[in-house]
Amino acid sequence: MTEKEWPLWEVFIRSKQGLNHKHVGSLRAADEEMAIDNARDVYTRRSEGISIWVVQSTNVFASSPTDADAFFEPANDKVYRHPTFYDVPDGIEHM
């Protein structure tokens, strides 16, 4: 037996037409074709999706938690960037 482990893949599923692919989890697979097959079996067996993307986890470059303050804090006191200063007319749903 070889001890080498298969690479990790991040799985993205589009649940229906018009929506974005959303990250649902990760899994291990030998290559991209098998990763798609595995994702189909692990993440769409209850009709969760119509399209699958897989990305090898090593290709994901993430923001660092230690930078979080510098990255995200400055936006917190800039409420004028949110579209909250409008009156929504009566009869508009789903806002």
């Binding site: 037996m1 697979a29 097959d37 595995n38 189909r40 079996d41 692990v42």
Partner: protein, 250 residues
Amino acid sequence: MSKALFEYVLRLGDDSLILGQRLSEWCGHGPILEEDIATTNIALDLIGQATTLLEYAAHLEGKKRSADELAFLRIDREYKNLLLVEQENGDFGKTIMRQFLFDAYRKLLFEKLLSSSDEHLAAIAEKSLKETKYHLKHSSEWVIRLGDGTEESHERVQDSLNELWRYTGELFFEDEVDTELKGSGVIPDVSDIQDKWNELVMNVLAEATLTIPNDNWQFDGGRVGKHSEHLGYLLSVMQYMQRAYPNMEW
């Protein structure tokens, strides 16, 4: 006609039932979580196909025997599945090879059955074909990766091919049941499927760097109820509940 059709549908139903039972033995034992789920998904697809086929067989027989009775209360000689599907799981490579050889046959058969003169059988084929296409994709991709993988995986899956090849002749078994149904356009000509099966299997095995064994000895008997020693053990597990607690439901 309906007697031959009953026999034919029973054969297809038993293939699905016995292979589904075999594959379900992997539940909780798969080599990795992803494959554990894949294998048991396929097992469930096959049990679903068995249900539809055996329900139709029960209807054709017209003796008020239910699909459940057909599945759980026959003795080994009354099962008409291929010898291939009752063979033991062995290692993962052997399970995959058995699945590949069967899936290739099943997919080609269902494609032909789409144009069966028997509408019910054509409808079952249409529904099952979608599942079977995925089964074949899954098993052939694995055969390629195991065959063209490491030295050990190549050796193991080649051994499995050598062992299972002798059960592939039976895929194209024909007797008076087939002759009668062929005449009325219910089932396709088996030689048509055989040529395509050879082509499909050769292509995948070539990509997997595997070689077909020279030994041409072939077994048959499953289609007329003469099975290998493995079926009895499988049935004793599968039938235990109904035998021990007759008519139990859950």
